[in-house]
Subunit: 309 residues, 2 copies
């Protein structure tokens, strides 16, 4: 294996802006991505909170091209490339590798529910064999509350055994710390990076050898989350974690994607950010007002956000 710099720390499943006709808005995406990078947060483009599964493969390819052409570093990108059809996953993954992305975040195929680890193994194996590129780094995406189809410890073990080096880690969005801890313990001797899917587990993960976190809230609170990742051994780490949790708790009162977009729209003074694609629905005016009120009560702000005064 070549000695490539691994992508670690805090990443954000960056929310995808749309124009009034519901087309992806590449310019706003680039501006938001720059702001996240300026705050030491990497780009997990096309995650669940990016409405990635409301975008076609062609739309995702075009957006990724745009980010790279705008000069953003692929070494800080981990695009989501796992689709229901492995032919789609192969196309998108190949494209990401060619662009030099640090890794890809890969959902299992999530339509069919009666699937076995053998079937999931074959899906990932087909993708790896067909992409056929030594540079490929796959981060498995375990998010049973949404995908319903999960990534078991046994599946990880089998994939690591066959494709060690290519299988580079996991994002654990189970919300179950016991599961994250089991992943950290079972694969600690491997080159296998465990990212919990929420900053609420960031400190615990870093203390247990985790790689960082990939969290929706990093779209709106990147600086403080990244600061904890870089200063987790300092004496105020638990206080930092508590402050992150307080912000996260506000967003948990709302459907997360419209809530994140409403906050960006408000603090950036840019209402266009509020648009979501169906089947999601934007926050209603009273919900928006409640969200902002709760955030302001915490003294929350988004310093330097594009569009903000």
């Amino acid at each position: 294996m070549t000695d490539v710099a691994r992508i670690r720390g805090v990443l954000s499943p960056i929310v995808t802006p749309f124009d009034g006709d519901l087309r992806p808005d590449a310019e706003r995406l680039v501006a938001h991505a720059r702001w996240l990078l300026d705050n030491d947060v990497g780009l997990a483009v096309f995650g669940t909170n990016s409405e990635a599964n409301s975008l076609s493969v062609a739309e995702k390819r075009a957006l990724l091209d745009h980010l790279v052409e705008a000069g953003l570093p692929p070494s800080r990108m981990m695009p989501g490339t796992g689709c229901c059809s492995f032919s789609d996953s192969v196309e998108l993954t190949t494209h990401a590798v060619k662009l030099g992305c640090a890794g890809v975040l890969m959902l299992p195929p999530f339509y069919y529910k009666v699937v076995t680890d053998e079937g999931l193994y074959r899906n990932f194996a087909e993708i790896i064999e067909r992409v056929g590129d030594e540079r490929l780094r796959i981060y498995l995406y375990h998010i049973p509350p949404v995908a319903q189809v999960g990534i078991s410890l046994g599946l990880i073990e089998r994939l690591l055994s066959a494709y060690g080096g290519t299988i580079a880690g996991v994002k654990d969005s189970s919300g179950d710390w016991d599961n994250t801890q089991a992943m950290l313990e079972q694969f600690q001797s491997e080159e296998f990076d465990v990212f919990p899917g929420a900053e609420s587990f960031l400190l615990a993960a870093l203390r247990a050898g985790g790689a960082g976190c990939i969290s929706a809230t990093a779209n709106v609170n990147p600086g403080p989350i990244a600061r904890l990742a870089s200063s987790w051994e300092s004496s105020d780490a638990d206080d930092q974690q508590a402050a992150l949790n307080a912000v996260r708790a506000v967003f948990q009162n709302y459907v997360v994607i419209p809530g994140l977009k409403a906050a960006i729209a408000h603090f950036g003074g840019d209402p266009a950010w509020g648009v979501v694609r169906p089947p999601l629905v934007e926050l209603q005016p009273d919900e928006r007002a409640g969200l902002i009120q709760r955030l302001e009560a915490l003294g929350f702000s988004m310093p330097g956000l594009p569009g903000s005064a």
Copy 2:
């Protein structure tokens, strides 16, 4: 509204054959489709049992083109065109309408689980508006055991009110007869065709004003299922239904798609039919042997199946 012939009776979510490299096998698909049509079974291509969600949009477009170019009648086709991304759904639906398909079977977007009827309504409305074709006939696809996201009675009512004529019916694969009956009763005054998603409800549905059924088992037992649909008022209808149920019960011992393909491979003498795409796995030898033994014990056969002696 123009007076177009509606697609009714028995349809099959036709299984998709793959070659050894897991590419769709258009020739075998055409041959199987012809056999179904010869048995009075229409073509719900790209249904759940077609492994439609393991195919890319481009693969589905190419297969549909191939079926039509082979001379099969689009008036007997109801392709599945509902994807997670409405941009994909629009592309595939537009293509199906241009080819003259009788209708399309439309899943709701199924990745995001916290969705409202308002969000689902917007998804279908966007698709209808963007396809923008008077010929479009949508059959909503309610399959909560797999998609998890369902189609409520309230959503149907709202869609019918805004897009009556375009919203032409529903496939109810809930497996819950009470739900099918509620659909039949609530929308009986509308031009709205209810297809249960299994032939086990065929007789009950026809007696209650249903349009037929769309059933996986019609891939292997098309003649007898179609015969009940055309003779459901005859005195032996209940006996016919019981015989259909006995065949269906055999398949229910196995994961359905590999089971159907194993039966076609066996009775057609064409082992290539056994191939499935990941995340599915073909039946194991002992499972195949058990399936065939159970079917033969019932005197089951597939007369005229392509490839069979």
